[in-house]
Structure formats: C-alpha cells, structure tokens
C-alpha cells in the first residue's frame, strides 16, 4: 500500500483522529487537502485580530462542517455565530463581524442592510467579508451601489473548491452546477472545477494523463492546460499520486441518476436524503432502543441526525451492498458481536477481565452501530416492500430494457391522476424520453398537458428547463440509438447477483450505470473499442498528456494498481460511487478509483435543482 507524505499526521490526538481519520486510510490521503483548507481558514481568522462573530450564509455551514468544527473557530476568538438575516445584527460584544457568504447578489443586499443599520456610536465594530469560494466583481459592485463597500475593512475569498467528503470522495457541494452549465450556460462552476484540480495537483503532483468525454470536460481540460502554462515555473516537485484523470459530463449519461438507486447508501439517500454527509431519520425506531422503560414518555419528535461515512466500520462494510444483501450482512455482524460479548464468561483471571474491559468501548460502539443500521434497514425495508415502490421500479426497468418506451405509459398516467409527487412523475417521463432518444411529439404533448393541468400551468417553466437540458425532448428524425448503446456497453445484465456481485450492474439490480461502464472500458480494453458508441453520446472525447518535471516519472512496481481520479461534472449518485468502489476492489481490476464531483445527487434532488418552483409538490 502506497502512502503519501502526510502520514505524520497520524500522531494527532485521538479526538481529532476520530473526526477525520477515515480520510487518511484510502489509496490517496485526502486528509492533506483537509489540513490545507483548515490552515487557510486559521490564517484568515488570524488576519482579523481580536474577538469576532461570524455571520453565516446558512448554505455554507454544511460544507464547512466537513472541514472544521466550532472548536477550531473558537480557538481563533470566534465568540458568536449568527445566521445571515435582514435588519439589524444581534448584539455581540466583539471587535470584528465577519460575513461568510457565497457570492450572491441577494446576500449582498442583506449584508448592506446589516451594515447600514449598525449603531455606529454605540458599538464600533469592524466588518469583513469572506467570499466562498471566490469573490465576485458583480457582488462588490452591488455593495458599492448600496454604499457600504467603504465600510468593509477586508474583503477576502476562501477557496473551497474540492471538499474531502470521504476517504475516496471529493465534492464541491455545488448544488447549482448542473443547472448553471447545461441550462444557463454559466460555466463558472467549470472554472472552479479547473481551479480545484490545480489545487489538487499542487498537493498531489501533476496528473500525467487526462481523459474526457463531453463539452464541459473539454472546457475543464482546456482550462487546466492553460492554467498550467501560466503557472509554469512554479512547478511543485511532488511525485504524482494520480496516474490519470477522467472527466465526465453528466449529460453524457442522463439516465443513471433518474433510476432508483438500490444500494444501501443509495436507498438512504433516495428515501431520506443525505446532505453534507448527514441524514435525518424519523426518531421513532431509535427511541425504543434508548430507554425501553419509559415507553410513551418523552418520545422524541425531532428527527435523528446521523453522520454517514467510512469512519464507521460497519457502515463502510455495508454501504455499497445491494439492499437485498443487507439483512444477511447485519445478521452476520450481530453474531460476531454477540460472540464477543459472550467472551466475558470465559474471562476468569484478572488479566483476562482487564483485557475484556479494555475492549468494551469498541464493542459498545459496534453494538450501537449495529442497532442504528438495523433500524435504518427496517425503515427502508418498509418502503422497498411497498406496492408503490415495486410498481415504480417495474416501470423503470421496463424503460431501461426498452419495453414500450414509444407509448403513453399507463402507470405514469395513473400516477398523474392520483396526483403523486410531481418530481416522481418528471423522473419517470424523463427516463422514458432518455431511453427512447426523445418522445414522439404527440406523446410528449400529451404528458405535458396532463402535467400542467394537474399540477398547475406555472410548471411550464420547469418543463421548459427539462427540455433545454435534453432530459425531455421531442424525437427528431434520427433513429433511437439507446438500444445500440445498451447492447454495446452491456447496460442491462440478465442475472445481476445482488448477494455476491460479479458486475457493477448489481447497484441497480440489473442496470449497469453508463458512466461507470465508460470508466471501466477506458481502463480495459480502452475507448478505441467503443468509438461508435462514444460518437452517439454528446460532446467530444479526448486524451491529453501533461509533461512531468524530470525525475518525477513513477516507476510502477509489478502488480501495482493504477490510481485514477474520476470527476463527474454535474453530479454523481451514491450507486455510481458504489460501482466504482466495486471496480477498485476487483482482484484483477488493476485500477483504483478516487471520485470527485460538483455535487452528490439523486434523481429527486437533481430534478429539483432544475425546477423553477421547487417548493411545489
């Protein structure tokens, strides 16, 4: 196992190790990136000398939570924290007020309001703005128009492009990236992506090979090469950790996120939604475990919030399994833990008892972890065994295998008539359109009319957006090429093994995600074998090489795996990540994958980001 330079960090106190250790154990030590980000943050805080209060753009607290906890801020004299709101700032006896904000105009107006209504006579406080991830001219212009630019002592930026999310996963946590790139033609997020990749290369060495597919991928690669030229001279002398980078546009595979994910983690995300690594669960199932004695008394009404990452041993083991294999995995774990606890009867001597007691905390952690996941699995099972779930999945699988994609689907019709959630309808209609390479005009018009009549005419904005991004489209004269793509890339596997998978198709119980098939084929035998299919997918495919400084060429040991960074521009699902982890673990795979993305998405959050009135049903 190859380790990178920062292994010295393992000597840190235990609490810290607990918080971020899972970032260090992967193929690439992503904790280096986290440390760099923390250092940057400390440096900024120290620039504003004296006591301070932070006013947060609420959206940012989640992503920042992946970098630092409150304690770090507190060490640097952050005494109060508020949420950004209009009107007057709350009282706080501090020297500095720092706004942590995204560069958004509406937020500038709120800041201006805060600054203007400040009682200057009473409490003179210094104002600062920290833009995340970058300062913006438009925003500063707005502050100037509002007449507060002069009152700001310091305007700075905190470059938080790629956030370490897990041991093998980086995310920009940028919700709007897909919408901006494919709907609004605002490619600023691609610029941030390129910058993030430059940062990554500064820490982990130049990536010698860049592959890509799609317009956005091409842009990012171009920007990287250009930035490299401009930085020439300030080359870092670091042995490359990554052998290659694969840039993939989300719009080359619109199908995968629309399908219901069937891995454990994927289903948790589908059902409850994972935000910034946390999930909120209904508390009932968890309450009973805690104090059975006081049933009916003090039942918690707040959702239970849990962090989900590979720091939790059991979760790391089961997260990527097909949900149908979870029962067996949990019961196996239960037996092991029970046996461990039974050991206490065998502990006779003082030494043995001591030994047992010393292991108790670890065993308790394992027990609690098992209890939590048993409860979550029960919650999800209730859903997956429901008729509605089954019917929905049936239709998805029919579409993915090409059954009746050119007719009005009665199930979708029924769902509209029953006024099922609009997003569910849109997911299905888009899926049908993608699997049919567009819908016949008559069918498209029919669906549109039904949707507008049932859910409201204002949703024509959303339908319009879906058409612009290609998720929904009228069939053009060209023939439907989805069946060809499906057959060539083996996107449907008849006998997906959910218990002991031998192919990535297990993550959707039959459907192998297109994006991951492309990744798989690239590693072996190479894209040249699928030229025809690549041409059917939008955007160019390409390969670039980056020169390495002399002496930094890696000499690969016999049997040593390659490391590839796969970057999903516009979002990636947990099921796709599971499929890549599966490929990494294949014995003769030869490649290990690190995953990066603009945002972790699922069909629902994705469609929502494209809606023009997301609060509607």
């Amino acid at each position: 196992m190859m380790h990178t330079t920062a292994s010295s960090h393992l000597t840190l106190p235990t609490v810290r190790a607990k918080m971020s250790a899972h970032l260090s154990y992967g193929r690439v030590n992503l904790n280096i990136l986290r440390e760099a980000a923390r250092k940057e943050l400390r440096e900024f805080l120290d620039k504003c000398a004296g006591s301070k209060a932070i006013v947060w753009d609420e959206y940012l607290t989640g992503p920042f939570g992946l970098i630092a906890q409150y304690s770090l801020l507190k060490e640097h004299e952050v005494e109060k924290m508020f949420t950004l709101k209009g009107g007057r700032l709350p009282a706080a006896d501090v020297k500095n007020i720092i706004f942590f904000v995204r560069p958004r105009l509406e937020l500038m107006d709120i800041i201006a309001e805060n600054v203007i209504s400040e009682d200057k006579m009473h409490s003179p406080r210094d104002f600062h703005i920290l833009f995340v991830p970058r300062r913006s001219m438009l925003c500063e212009q707005r502050l100037k128009e509002q007449g507060v630019l002069g009152s700001l002592i310091n305007i700075d930026e905190y470059i938080l492009d790629l956030i370490p999310y897990d041991g093998d996963l980086l995310s920009m946590e940028s919700e709007g990236a897909f919408r901006e790139c494919y709907l609004e033609s605002d490619q600023t997020s691609l610029y941030h992506t390129a910058k993030g990749l430059m940062t990554l290369q500064a820490l982990y060495g130049t990536i010698p090979q860049i592959f890509g597919k799609g317009e956005c991928a091409r842009h990012v690669a171009n920007m990287m090469l250009r930035m490299k030229r401009e930085f020439a001279g300030s080359q870092t002398q670091i042995l490359p950790v990554f052998d290659s980078l694969l840039l993939l546009d989300r719009n080359i595979d619109l199908l995968t996120p629309l399908a219901t994910q069937l891995t454990y983690e994927g289903l948790i995300d589908e059902v409850y939604g994972i935000t910034n690594g946390y999930v909120k669960l209904p508390p009932e199932k968890f309450a009973a475990q805690k104090k059975q004695v006081e049933v009916g008394k003090d039942l918690p009404t707040e959702p239970k919030k849990m962090q989900l990452n590979s720091a939790e041993e059991l979760y790391a083991e089961i997260r990527d399994k097909n949900f149908n294999a979870i029962g067996a995995a949990l019961s196996k774990k239960a037996k092991i833990i029970s046996a461990a606890f039974e050991e206490r009867h065998n502990a006779k001597t003082v030494g043995e008892i001591k030994q047992f007691v010393s292991q108790l905390p670890h065993m308790q952690a394992a027990r609690s972890s098992l209890a939590n996941h048993t409860s979550i699995a029960e919650l999800i099972k209730d859903i997956t065994t429901s008729e509605a779930f089954f019917d929905n999945l049936t239709v998805e699988q029919e579409f993915m295998t090409g059954v009746d994609t050119d007719k009005v689907n009665t199930y979708i019709e029924d769902c509209i008539a029953q006024k099922d959630p609009l997003i569910k309808i849109l997911r299905l209609v888009c899926m049908q359109s993608v699997c049919n390479n567009g819908l016949k005009q008559k069918i498209l018009d029919y669906y549109k009319r039904e949707i507008l009549q049932t859910y409201g005419y204002e949703h024509m904005l959303t339908l319009n957006n879906l058409e612009k991004t290609g998720l929904l489209k009228p069939q053009t004269s060209t023939r439907n090429n989805y069946p060809t793509i499906r057959k060539t890339l083996k996107l449907w596997m008849e006998d997906a093994n959910e218990q002991n998978p031998n192919d990535i198709s297990y993550v959707y119980s039959g459907y192998a995600p297109l994006s991951i098939r492309l990744t798989q084929v690239l590693a072996r035998p190479g894209w040249r074998s699928i030229e025809e299919v690549l041409k059917m997918l939008p955007g160019p495919h390409f390969e670039e090489r980056q020169q390495l400084p002399a002496g930094l060429h890696k000499k690969r040991q016999q049997g040593e795996n390659r490391t590839t960074l796969v970057f999903f521009l516009g979002g990636v699902t947990y099921a796709e990540i599971a499929a890549l982890r599966f490929l990494s673990q294949m014995e003769d795979g030869g490649t290990e994958y690190i995953i990066a993305t603009t945002k972790l998405i699922n069909g629902t959050s994705w469609i929502k980001s494209l809606m023009d009135r997301p609060e509607a049903p």
């Binding site: 960090h9 438009l138 048993t374």
Partner: protein, 445 residues
C-alpha cells in the same frame, strides 16, 4: 395490460426481468429481526453505561454537538453555553501544506496574459494602488480597449476563460461603452456571452425575457394584479405551445376570481345546502385546473353548460381529456356518496334505448377509487362485475368481499372445487353460504 403488476407472477417468473423481490424461503429480513434480537440481548450488559451514541454526540435539536451548524444556533442565543461544547483543542500544525495562493484578481490577469499570447502586448495592465491594507489587489482597467474590434476580442477571450466573473466584468464595460444596437448585434453571434448578458440583466432587473417575464407572476400575491400581469404576457411572442398554456393560465385565473367571489358570497349568506354541509376548506384561487374541475364537480354539479363554474364548461374550455374528466368527476361525486351520479357517468344509451356501461378507464381502477371513498358493497360489486378479466375480477371481489360476484363467477365457470373451498371461507348459515349450497345441490347430476 403488459405492464407488470405484482399479481402477474407468471410474467415475472418467465420474463427476463429481475424483480426486486424478497423470496420467502431465503428472506433476508427475517435476519434483520435476528440482528435486532442480538442487539437487544447485548443491551442488558451495557445498560448502565453511557447510552449516548458512539456515532455522534447529538444535541436536543438533533444537530451533532460541536458542528458548525449546531453552534450557529447555540452561540446566537445570548446566554453562552460554555460547558456543552466538546472541547477539542488541537495543537496548531504548521506542517500543513499550503494551497497555492491566487486571488480573484488572477482571473482578470489570466485574461491579460492570454492577450500577451495573442501578441497584443501594448495593453499592459494598469496597476492601481492596493485597495486595502490587508491584501494587495491588482485592479486592471478595461478602458484601454477602445475600438470595437478590441472590445470584441476582449469579450471572446473572456468567454474562453469560462469564468463568469470575468465575462460579467467585460459585459458591464461593453454595456457602458457601446450603443445598444452594436452590443446586441455582436452578442447575437456569441451565444455564451449572450446568455451571460441575459443572466446579468435578469440579476439587475433591467429587463426580462419571455418565460422569465412570465415567471414573475409567481411573485405577485394579489390575484387581480396577477391576472392583469398574465394578461399582459399574452401578447409576448411565445412559441405556439407556450402561448396556449399562458392563455389557459390566464383564463383559469380569471375564472377562479369570478367563482371565488361568487361562492364566498353564497357560502356566507347560507343559501346553498352544499356549502353548509361541506364548508370550503380553502380558496380555489391559483389551484391547478384539475383541482378546479374537482371543485366544480363538488359544488357546481348539474349547472347548465353556460355558466363559468359548470363542469361541462370547464371541460370544454380547457380541453380536458375524457379520462381526466371522468376520474376527477368520479372522485368528487364518490366523495359526496352521490352513487346515482356515479352510475350516470358510465351509462350510455344506444339507439334502441338499451343502456350499457362504458368507461375509458379499466373498471378495476374505478373499483379502487370507489372503495377508497367507502362505497357500499352493493355499489362496489356492480363495478367489480364489469371487470373483463376473470382472474382480476375474482381477486378484486375477494379483496373487497363481494361474495355474490365470486360465487356467480365460479358458478359460470362450473368450478365446483373452488365453490367448495369458498364455502369454507364464508360464515356458516349466512346468505352467501346458503347460495353456495343451493348451487352445489342444483348442479349435482
């Protein structure tokens, strides 16, 4: 019906589809119970220990203690909670690698560098005084770009850099220094820059375009103002499709306003029984058309076609499909238990005067909807009988306990065996029981 239903077992077993099912013989989820039991048995040992989760320390609000989002709320309250926050003082680490430093100024500078490459070196960036004492900031002046050609070159380079921030800065400058005609003429051939410009205009609220303008109605609260706004949208050059939808939207709101005013008055005056018996729960304003139709079928059923609020008029005006109309109407009348109206919905007369029941939707769906509205068995079984597929008919009849339908079907199929089995399921001595007895004894030959 090709679509796989859970009851179409044969289809699933014979087809190539991999169903996401849980087989009885190897049910993983009986194992879930196993692991639950195991967890419970271990609990007794650790009961006296700290019951807090190992996963994350969680505050009352469910936020992990010490997380930033939790602390925002916590420190915002005037009483500072000192003891609660976990003390996690880490030593400062100076060995941490540094990120490459580059400020936003870089983006513009890269633009200028790009010009260097395209050999327009005379446009040297102008260095101004640092703006703040904290950070030296380079500000580039765009004023050096005088000729139209240079300006366009600048724009193209900015677009190539893909940094929205830079593109916007250049656009602001061009907008200031070019006439509208010139700017638009050039923007039309530069799609990305154009989109940015639109976005920019949208943000600064100077002008709105078509759908974007239509979108603004969402921000108008007052229904009359909203209607007038929609009316003003009608003249915009939408695509034919969109134009129809906007027209419909306007017509709908116009009607809703009339209906709402009228019904509110009728309801408060107490004249109509229907409003007394079923008071309106919410206003009909801004509801989708199907909801409006439901409302109309509920409160205005039987009105003549000429009125704005009659179901027939709404159906015609908004070109509602037969299926949607039937489903909506059925839902509303069944809710009111107006079974006579329900019956009439399906009844057609031929020229000889015979009546027959027809439906654009499978009768099994009709049965489901009626059942959800608590229709009595007599009503239900009439529709169960109309289900064409015999197997589906039986399974529906069994689900909703329509004994007559089941018994008659078996009788018609001459299935003695099934009748005997079914006799075992009904109450001894009940009318169903006697009916089965009678059939069985009659058919003995």
């Amino acid at each position: 019906m090709i679509r796989g239903k859970p009851d179409e077992d044969e289809y699933w077993n014979s087809s190539k589809f991999k169903a996401f099912t849980f087989d009885d013989e190897d049910d993983d989820f009986t194992r879930l119970k196993e692991s639950k039991r195991a967890v419970n048995s271990i609990r007794s040992l650790v009961e006296e220990e700290d019951e807090e989760d190992d996963v994350e320390k969680v505050s009352w609000s469910g936020e992990p203690v010490g997380s930033i989002s939790w602390s925002v709320k916590e420190t915002a309250s005037s009483i500072r909670s000192t003891g609660e926050v976990r003390d996690q003082s880490f030593p400062k680490i100076n060995t941490a690698p540094s990120l490459p430093k580059n400020s936003s100024g870089y983006s513009l500078s890269s633009l200028f560098k790009a010009f260097g490459e395209t050999s327009i070196r005379n446009y040297a960036p102008e260095l101004r005084k640092p703006k703040s004492e904290y950070k030296v900031r380079y500000v580039y002046s765009l004023e050096k770009f005088r000729s139209l050609q240079d300006k366009l070159l600048l724009l193209d380079e900015a677009v190539n850099a893909h940094d929205g921030n830079v593109i916007t800065a250049v656009l602001i400058y061009l907008k200031k220094s070019l006439s509208k005609e010139n700017l638009f003429r050039e923007l039309i051939t530069r799609e990305i820059a154009l989109r940015h410009y639109i976005h920019f205009l949208k943000e600064i609220e100077e002008q709105k375009l078509l759908l974007m303008q239509y979108r603004d109605h969402l921000n108008i609260r007052d229904e009359n103002k909203r209607r007038d706004f929609l009316k003003s949208c009608l003249s915009l050059p939408f695509s034919p499709d969109d134009a129809t939808h906007v027209q419909d939207h306007y017509t709908l709101l116009e009607r809703q306003i009339i209906i709402e005013a009228n019904d509110k008055q009728v309801e408060s005056s107490g004249q109509a029984d229907i409003f007394k018996k079923y008071p309106r729960k919410a206003s009909i304003l801004n509801m989708p058309i199907i909801t409006t139709l439901y409302y109309s079928c509920f409160y205005h059923y039987g009105e003549s076609d000429g009125t704005y609020s009659s179901p027939a008029n709404i159906r015609k005006t908004f070109r509602i499909s037969d299926k949607q109309f039937l489903l909506t109407c059925l839902g509303a009348r069944a809710k009111l238990k107006a079974w006579f109206d329900v019956d009439a919905l399906f009844t057609t007369k031929n020229w000889l005067g015979y009546t027959k029941k027809r439906s654009p939707i499978g009768f099994h769906r009709i049965v489901d909807i009626l059942q959800k509205n608590n229709a009595p068995v007599q009503v239900l079984q009439e529709y169960v009988n109309l289900v064409e597929d015999a197997e589906q008919k039986i399974s529906l009849a069994q689900k909703y306990k329509c004994h007559d339908v089941i018994i008659n079907t078996y009788r018609d199929l001459k299935d003695r065996q099934q009748l005997i089995v079914y006799r075992g399921k009904v109450e001894r001595g009940s009318s169903e029981y006697r009916k089965i007895e009678e059939i069985l004894s009659n058919s003995v030959r």
